[in-house]
């Protein structure tokens, strides 16, 4: 084999032996998003980039992909200083990016999505047959099975991700940046992705794996770089890393990763669903005869891939979606299709999935959001009409202190707070009402590790106080860490329920995808 052949990837494109970013600085108005960051990737390596939201991971990688331009610092590809002006420029240099939200057009076919933005071999006329042929070749080489003629919307999430990877390879990517690629995948799909990534590395590609999930970083990467507040904390070989060590590097202080759970002290049934059915937004079956019992003092986790009825379930319980059949009972009284206000009155609290839409009014102040349901409560009003803003602010200040919400004042608009702090505010509001039943949907999605730890601890405390908690989450780790029982939803049904005691993850994953 000659020297040059050695340097080529199986796609026929050149390798990137090394890519170095040194002293990278990026300023945004009022923020130093990247502060002299050094980072490098080599051919054949999976380099994990770890950090909280806002630590600078995405900013750094967007500079590598030409979406942002560094204010200071240098990027070298194979030792040659390189300026990357745009994504097209990045692609020409052999850099590909797999975005967290797939950059695919749902109504177009796989081949059309890949042909988009590329020169056609037939001038202005599309050459989809040529593209399809090449896609099939690449599918063979990398074992990425995809039918080029199917429209994207017919593909499962994992398959869509494969299309993204195929497209990057098609365009000659030697270095692949993967932005939180496992966020939307089931455990089986994650396994499949990791096999692909390992093969890509073995074939000489360089990979940057952006994540905030510690165990994944430990499993897949060769080296790991941790960022915090726009600065590089350190780069270490993964073999020398442990979960507590990485978490501490990320957050800047030791973090609790495993919770000490008090033994289950289940009390009476508080929430009961009997054969509850409901329609989805599209008018199809959203919930299909779901039955569920929730006792005081226990957390029941609802696991499942997004869009399998979890949202409908939460809305049916909280009075936000019409129950078409079956019954919902709280503390023995039938509350099927009761209005939300009546449900609040009997002690039902709800942490909604879309906190920015259903949880808060982002143009309102912290204090106003704190009393969204209780603004008419006697303790905050005179004659239930005139609001006593001093009392409201007082109560809000106490909550801010107790829940460690970082906000300049009670009058700050909620939209200027970080995701973690907004979620703490929602949690503070819902728990301030001393609920008997708490529905928590994706309570820590998009929330940093520090706030996640805090929210988890609060949920466990609430459980020990005797509240019945329904935890709906796509994050299996969260479900397993907190739940006493786990129910799996698939296509609007509960397809399995297990006591959370050495649960087999593979088993859960199979249930989540309708297997078994």
């Amino acid at each position: 084999m000659s020297q040059t052949e050695n340097q080529l990837l199986p796609t026929g494109h050149a390798r990137i032996d090394s890519l170095t970013m040194s002293g990278i600085v990026k300023r945004f108005p009022g923020v130093l998003a990247a502060d002299e960051i050094d980072f490098d990737v080599r051919s054949g390596e999976i380099h994990a980039l770890l950090g909280e939201n806002g630590a600078g991971k995405s900013t750094l990688m967007k500079m590598l992909y030409g979406l942002y331009h560094p204010d200071e610092g240098e990027i070298r590809i194979n030792d040659a200083p390189t300026i990357i002006k745009s994504p097209i420029d990045a692609i020409q240099h052999g850099i590909g990016m797999i975005h967290q939200h797939f950059m695919l057009v749902p109504s177009l076919t796989v081949a059309e999505n890949i042909a988009l933005g590329m020169k056609s071999s037939r001038g202005f006329q599309l050459d989809l047959d040529v593209v399809s042929q090449r896609v099939l070749e690449l599918s063979d080489i990398y074992n990425l099975k995809v039918d080029p003629h199917l429209p994207i919307w017919q593909l499962a999430v994992g398959e869509q991700q494969r299309v993204e990877i195929l497209r990057a390879l098609y365009k000659g990517a030697a270095l692949l940046i993967l932005d939180e690629p496992t966020a939307v995948l089931t455990p089986q799909e994650v396994d499949g992705l990791f096999r692909i990534l390992n093969q890509l590395a073995a074939d000489g590609h360089g990979l940057v794996f952006i994540s905030h999930k510690l165990h994944e970083v430990l499993e897949i990467s060769h080296r790991v770089t941790v960022l915090r507040d726009g600065r590089r904390v350190n780069t270490i070989p993964t073999s020398q890393a442990t979960r507590p060590k990485l978490a501490e590097m990320m957050v800047g202080r030791p973090v609790l990763l495993e919770y000490e759970k008090n033994p289950l002290q289940a009390r009476d049934d508080r929430l009961a669903l009997q054969d509850v059915s409901a329609l989805s937004n599209r008018g199809t079956t959203g919930l299909d005869a779901v039955s569920l019992q929730l006792r005081g003092g226990e957390i029941v986790g609802i696991a499942g891939v997004s869009g399998n009825g979890q949202q409908e379930l939460a809305q049916c319980i909280t009075g936000l979606r019409e129950v078409t059949a079956g019954s919902v009972t709280v503390d023995g009284s039938d509350v099927t299709n009761a209005p939300p206000a009546a449900l609040h009155a009997i002690g039902l609290s709800y942490i909604p999935e879309e906190r920015m839409i259903d949880g808060v009014i982002k143009e309102f102040s912290v204090a106003e959001n704190y009393v969204l349901q209780d603004h008419g409560h006697p303790k905050y009003t005179t004659a239930r009409i005139f609001m006593l803003f001093n009392k409201i602010r007082q109560a809000c200040r106490r909550a801010i202190q107790q829940f460690e919400i970082k906000t300049p004042s009670t009058e700050t608009l909620v939209k200027s707070l970080s995701g973690g702090n907004i979620q703490k505010l929602v949690l503070a509001r819902e728990l301030s009402r001393d609920p008997g039943v708490l529905i928590a949907a994706q309570p820590t999605r998009g929330v940093d590790i520090g706030a996640t730890e805090y929210i988890h601890k609060q949920l466990l405390e609430e459980r020990d106080k005797g509240t019945a908690i329904l935890l709906i989450s796509e994050d299996l780790d969260e479900i397993r860490a907190l739940s006493d029982r786990i129910a799996v939803m698939y296509e609007g049904r509960i397809v399995g329920e297990v006591v959370n005691d050495n649960v087999d993850v593979e088993q859960l994953g199979l249930l989540m995808t309708g297997g078994v």
Binding site: P87, V105, L116
Partner: protein
């Protein structure tokens, strides 16, 4: 009076003629909407195109400086340019300035309505007619009984309009430009990430839409009616926008909708002509009522551009 009196060959022939401006305007609007721009100003652009085309032909014919076909082609050219410029203005407001498309479209409409009237009064004054595009007689074909009258005795612009239908479908579905249009209208982030300039594509489609709307106007003022007057289009541009929804953003279906609408329109004209005992107001309303009913049943379809009316901004 029987059905024979209503469904005559001339009714079919006039349906085809009446469909011409709708086809031009609706095809242009299809391009714009497929890329995510809802241009509600079509009617105003049609008026400007109608006036521009009419005025060019009027000048050429009164001054006698140009041979007849050349003067008419001049008119078409002016209509295309005027329409294109108005489309460009719409693109600037909605793509570069990211204004609300519904509002800016109404602005473009009112601008075209007012300016075409003002210029007409300043430069022309009283309604005058011009010698428009003549009907073409084909050897043999035109003489076929019935079919000859229906299909082979129209002016040039009618044939251009119908030829544009398959051409538009080809451009949208089979070319790289069409792929970019569809991508930009469905998921502009994805198109941007693939190196497609969202702004450039939307500028192009909105300008093409404007040119075709201008041509639609000219097809009225120098081929169908052969005159200009205040508010000549009488809302045909809005019908064209509705036809795009009706046809589900597919050129062939959009043109079919234009045909259906024009056919009902031609029928009501014929009913008036033969003096049927139906209040003529009902007959005039019929095409619009049928369009509204059809729109209600035209539910969300795959081709619906999900980014329609949404200005694109790069994330974060």
């Amino acid at each position: 009076m029987g059905l024979d009196d209503i469904f005559t060959a001339s009714v079919f022939a006039s349906a085809i003629r009446l469909a011409t401006p709708y086809i031009f305007a609706a095809l242009g609007e299809t391009f714009a909407q497929r890329s995510g721009v809802l241009n509600l100003g079509v009617d105003g652009i049609m008026l400007m195109g109608a006036f521009g085309g009419f005025y060019a032909v009027h000048l050429a014919q009164t001054a006698g400086v140009m041979a007849e076909p050349l003067g008419l082609l001049m008119g078409v050219l002016v209509a295309l340019i005027v329409g294109g410029l108005m489309g460009l203005a719409m693109a600037f407001v909605s793509v570069t300035l990211k204004a609300k498309q519904g509002i800016s479209g109404i602005g473009v409409y009112l601008f075209g309505l007012g300016l075409s009237e003002l210029l007409f009064q300043q430069w022309v004054g009283t309604p005058k007619s011009v010698a428009g595009f003549p009907r073409i007689s084909f050897p043999i074909l035109t003489d076929i009984p019935i079919l000859g009258e229906i299909f082979f005795h129209h002016n040039l612009l009618v044939y251009v309009a119908f030829a544009l239908v398959p051409l538009s479908a080809f451009v949208l579905n089979r070319t790289t430009f069409g792929l970019m249009i569809r991508a930009v209208g469905q998921n502009p982030e994805a198109a941007d990430a693939m190196g497609v300039s969202v702004a450039r594509v939307r500028y192009a489609t909105t300008t093409i839409g404007g040119m075709l709307a201008g041509l639609a106007g000219a097809s009225l003022s120098i081929a169908l009616i052969n005159l200009f007057q205040q508010n000549l289009t009488a809302g045909q541009g809005f019908i064209a926008v509705a036809l795009v929804y009706f046809g589900g953003w597919r050129p062939l279906a959009v043109a079919a909708g234009a045909m259906l609408f024009s056919f009902v329109n031609a029928l009501q004209l014929q009913i008036k002509v033969i003096g049927a005992d139906i209040p003529s107001e009902f007959a005039v309303m019929a095409p619009y009522v049928i369009t509204i009913i059809a729109l209600v049943f035209a539910t969300k379809r795959q081709e619906q551009p999900t980014a329609l009316t949404k200005p694109y901004e790069r994330g974060e």
